[in-house]
């Protein structure tokens, strides 16, 4: 994960990318298999975090 990709992905998932940035992200994905893997992992992690926060995942587990 690098900072620029992380930045683009976060803003993509929150609907905050400009048109030129969308084209830039699309080019990165088209050209680089590692970027495609990173995209899938990033979105899955964010989905996990959404679920975690929704169920108060950060609270201590009941034993």
């Amino acid at each position: 994960m690098n900072e620029r990709f992380d930045d683009l992905m976060f803003r993509h998932l929150t609907g905050g990318l400009r048109a030129d940035e969308k084209e830039q992200l699309a080019s990165m994905l088209d050209e680089d298999p590692a970027a495609r893997r990173e995209l899938v992992q990033f979105v899955q992690e964010q989905t996990d975090l959404m679920e975690c926060v929704a169920v108060k995942c950060a609270m201590p587990a009941k034993r």
Binding site: M1, T14, L17, A26, R37, L39, V43, E45, D48
Partner: protein, 191 residues
């Protein structure tokens, strides 16, 4: 006879019910992957949840179209993709070129990663994530949680937290990288 009754659905046989339940159950195991996929296409988590929910209604209705032995995830993704385009058309009649390019690239990325994570493995990963989140400082945890709110932006988070946009961006990058590292280490160590 009322006109509507002529089109009443015939009763399902027990075998059909069994098949439907099996398909729906298998499809539901893909829910997380489908939600991630829809979110990546739409750039809006709430709309992605709506799309996945409507896709499951299609799965329940079209369960007989699923071919045994083929990828359930791929079949469900094709339904989600159609629902995503329906949702986009409802909002904008024309999809901008850059959106179309990005959708194609995102779809290709997910098509390459076809594997479905087993539910038990996913639960394990969520548990490790929960533990790793507990290790974050309250400030970092609240920064992360703020980033998961609907319509979150660096500027909005920064205003609420008294931080610059750049500090928020760097902080979120670091906390996400730290969480990934923490989860991976715990999974590798079998903790």
């Amino acid at each position: 006879m009322q006109r509507g009754m002529m089109f009443a659905r015939r009763t399902m046989t027990p075998a059909e019910k069994q098949q439907r339940d099996r398909v729906v159950c298998e499809a539901f195991a893909c829910r997380h992957a489908l939600l991630a996929y829809a979110w990546a296409l739409l750039g809006d988590y709430a709309r992605a949840e709506d799309v996945v929910q409507s896709a499951f209604l299609v799965v329940m209705d079209k369960y007989a179209d699923y071919r045994e032995g083929t990828s359930m995830l791929a079949w469900c993704r094709s339904i989600v993709r159609l629902k995503v385009y329906e949702a986009l058309r409802e909002r904008n009649r024309l999809v901008a070129t850059e959106d179309s390019l990005l959708h194609d690239a995102v779809s290709f990325a997910f098509d390459e990663a076809q594997e479905t994570e087993q539910t038990a493995a996913r639960m394990e990963r969520l548990e490790r994530l929960r533990e790793c989140m507990l290790k974050l400082t309250p400030r970092l945890r609240s920064l992360l949680e703020a980033s998961l709110q609907p319509g979150a932006s660096y500027a909005q988070i920064g205003r609420a937290a008294g931080m610059s946009v750049e500090a928020v961006r760097k902080g979120l990058y670091r906390v996400r990288a730290a969480l990934r590292d923490c989860v991976n280490k715990r999974l590798e160590a079998g903790l």
